[in-house]
Symmetry: C2
Subunit: 425 residues, 2 copies
Amino acid sequence: MRRPGEGTTPAGTWGDWLAPAEAWQRVRDVWQPALVGQEGVPLTGARGRVLAQDVRAPADSPAFDRSAMDGYAVRAADTAAAAQDVPARLAYAGDVPMGAASPIAVGPGQAAWVATGSMVPPGADSVVMVERTTREGETVLIRQAAKPGDNVVRRGDDLHAGAVVLRAGRRVRPHDVAALASMGLAQVPVRRRPRVAIIAGGDELVSPGAPLAPGQIYDANSYAMAAQIDEWGGEPAILPRVHDRPEEVRAALERAVGGADVVLLSGGSSVGIKDLSAEAIDAVGRPGVLVHGVAMRPARPTVLGVVDGVLVIGIPGNPVSAMIACEVFARPALESVLGVQPARQAGTMGDYSTQGRLAARVRSQVGRRDYVRVRLERTAEGIAVHPVPGGSNAIRSMVDADGLLVVPAEREAVEEGATVEVRLF
Amino acid sequence: MRRPGEGTTPAGTWGDWLAPAEAWQRVRDVWQPALVGQEGVPLTGARGRVLAQDVRAPADSPAFDRSAMDGYAVRAADTAAAAQDVPARLAYAGDVPMGAASPIAVGPGQAAWVATGSMVPPGADSVVMVERTTREGETVLIRQAAKPGDNVVRRGDDLHAGAVVLRAGRRVRPHDVAALASMGLAQVPVRRRPRVAIIAGGDELVSPGAPLAPGQIYDANSYAMAAQIDEWGGEPAILPRVHDRPEEVRAALERAVGGADVVLLSGGSSVGIKDLSAEAIDAVGRPGVLVHGVAMRPARPTVLGVVDGVLVIGIPGNPVSAMIACEVFARPALESVLGVQPARQAGTMGDYSTQGRLAARVRSQVGRRDYVRVRLERTAEGIAVHPVPGGSNAIRSMVDADGLLVVPAEREAVEEGATVEVRLF
C-alpha cells in the first residue's frame, strides 16, 4: 500500500501554495453570493447585528429648539447691557412646561422659565442659566448679557431630517442604539445571521462531557469555531461528527450544504482526512476545490472550495490552525454575506490593533505568511510584544495570547526591538 | 417661588466636585457587594460569560504521546545513520489506528505507521514524516535521521493535569472555549448576569415607535444604556418610565432596588429631576447619596448612592453624558459584582486602546477630567486622532466616534501633534 506523500519532498518551497490573499481572491472570483436576507429586530436586540439598510433621520432631532440649561428664555437684545451688578430687569412671562409645546411667547422685555430640555418659547432667542438670574416676584433680574443662540440646542442640531445617520452594513454598537432610539425606531432592519454548519471529522474525537478512551481526544475545534462564528455574528450549527470514511464525509457535506451559507469541514489533522475533505468537496458539487493548501503558518493545509454556491472551508485539525484558518477565511466570508462595511477604526488589520516593541526575534520563511501568537505587556517604555511559544496543537498558546502578529511573506524574520502592529483578539 | 440654583455662582471651580476615581472610591468604601451567584451554562453558551471558578486541567492533554505528523514511528537510534540516499531499512510493524490505544509496540529495527494525532506506540520515541520514507512491502526505508522526541507531542504538552488553565473572573473568549472543550467540560461554571434596572424619568420622553407631540423627544438613554449593559455582560431591564414627581421616582426606585444588583436612575436633564433622583435615593434607604456631581465632562451631574446594599447611579439626561457616565461608573460596578479580573491586554485604560497623534488642540480645564470623543484615521504617518465636535446632547458625535481620549484633571489642554492614547469603544 502506498501512503499519500510517501517519498515526496516535504514542504520546502512555499511557492507551491497561494498566499492567503491570493487564495481568498480565487474564491471570490467564483463565490459571489447574495447578501443574506433581512429581518426586523426590536431595538433591544439590535446590538451586534448588521444594518440591512441605510437609516435616515425621519425628522430633525431635536424637533424643536431646546434649552440646554435651566434658566430664563429671553431676547438677547434685552440683556445687552446686563452684568452681575447691573441686571437687566425683565417681566416674568411664565413657565414653559417640559414635554409640551410652549403655551407662552416671549415678547420684548420678557423672560420665561425653561428647564433643560424644554422648548425655547417663540420670541426668545437665547437662555440665561439660572445661576445668573434672580427672581423678584413678577420681575426677573438677568445678570449676564446673552448672545442669540446661547444655551439653545437648535432644531436639527443633532440629526437633520433625511440625513443618513447609519449606513447599511454597519455593526450596531450601543451608541448606534441611542441614535436609532432618538429617531423613534422600535424595529431595526438587520441582516439575518448567516448559518454556518460545522462538521468535524476524525475517529479520535469525543464530545466534551463523555469519557475518553485511550487514544481519543475531545473535540475542541467544533466548539471553538462555533464560538468564533457566534462572536462574528453568524449562527453556528455543530452537526454530528463523521468518521474518516469518504462516504460519511460526502453524505454529511451534502446535507450541510442544503441549509447553510458557509460550511466548515474540520477534518482530522491527518493527510488522509484532509484528502477526504477535498474529495468530498469535489464530489458534492461544482466547481469544487479551488485552493488546496495556503502559504501561511499555521493552517497551511486549509482547503477552500465552493459547492453549488456555498463556500466550504476545509479546516486543519490542529486547534490553533483551526482557529486561525477560521479567522483568516471564515470571518471575511461571514462579512461578505452580511455586507459588513469595513470598520472605520484605524485598527485596520481587520479590527482593533495596537503597536508595540517586539521582545524577542521571530523567525519565519520567505514566501510564507506567519500568524504569530503574541502576549502584550505594558512596560515603562510602552507595550512589549512577547511571542507565545507552542505548536499549532497548543490550545494553551491561544489562551495566553492577546493577539496575532502577522509576518508578511517577504520577511524571513522580525527583529527584537522592532515596532510591530498586533491585531487584537 | 425660588428656582434651584437661582443667584448662585455657576460652576467655575471644579474643586467643588470629587474626581471620578475619588467618587468611585467613596462608593467602594461603602458598597462591598458579594459576587453574584454562579450557574452552569453549556459550552456553546459560555462565550462572553465570566468564569466563577478557576478551571484546572482534570488530566494531561494530550493524554498520551501523539504523533504530530503522518509517518513512521521509530526508535531514533535505529535511524542514526539514515540519509536521503542511504536509508535505514526497518521492518514494518503495522498501522496504529486513530482514536485507539496502539495495539502494537515498536521493537528495535521496527517502524509503525502513524497518522497525525495517532498514539505514538510503545517502544517508539520519534516519528519520521512520510515524505522522508518509502515503503517496500514489509520494509520501510527511512531517509532521515530522527532525534528522540521528533514529531511527537508529549503527554501533557498542552495542559498538565491539575494546572490552572483559566482563572475565575476571566471573560470567556472563543479560544478559551477551545481550552474548556479540550478538557472535556460540557458545562461551564459562570457568574449569573447581574441584573441592572433602568428607570428613565422625564415628562418629555416618549418610547421609540410612538408618535412625538411637540416638545417631546424619544427616550434614547434607556435603550443605549441597556445595550451597554448587555455588552458588558449584565442583564438590563428597562422599567416603566416615571414622571417628574418625587413620589413616582421614589416608588419606582423602591421597586427596582428589590430585584436588581445595580439601578440606573436616568433623570431628565434638568436641575429639578437631578434633585428628584438624589432625593429618592436618600428617601428609599441607607446610606443614600454618597456623591452628588463629579469633576468630569461630560456627565458632571452624576449622582452615586447606595440603597440597602444596591448601587444606584443617577445618570444625567443628556445622551452623551448618560453613555459616558455608564462607561465610567456602571461598567466597573458590573465588573465588581461579576468578579472580572482586569484584562491582561496592554490596552489598560480598561479595555483596548491604541495610540495616535492628536490632529487638533483639545482644551480642558484644570481640575476636571475630560472624556473627549475622537475619531481615528489611518494616515501615512500613523494614526491621526480627530476630536469629534458636538455637545453632550449630540448622539451623532458618539456614533461618529471610535473611542475616548481622556484629558486628566491636571491638564488644561492637549496640544495638536501630541501622542495620545485612545480608549476604543
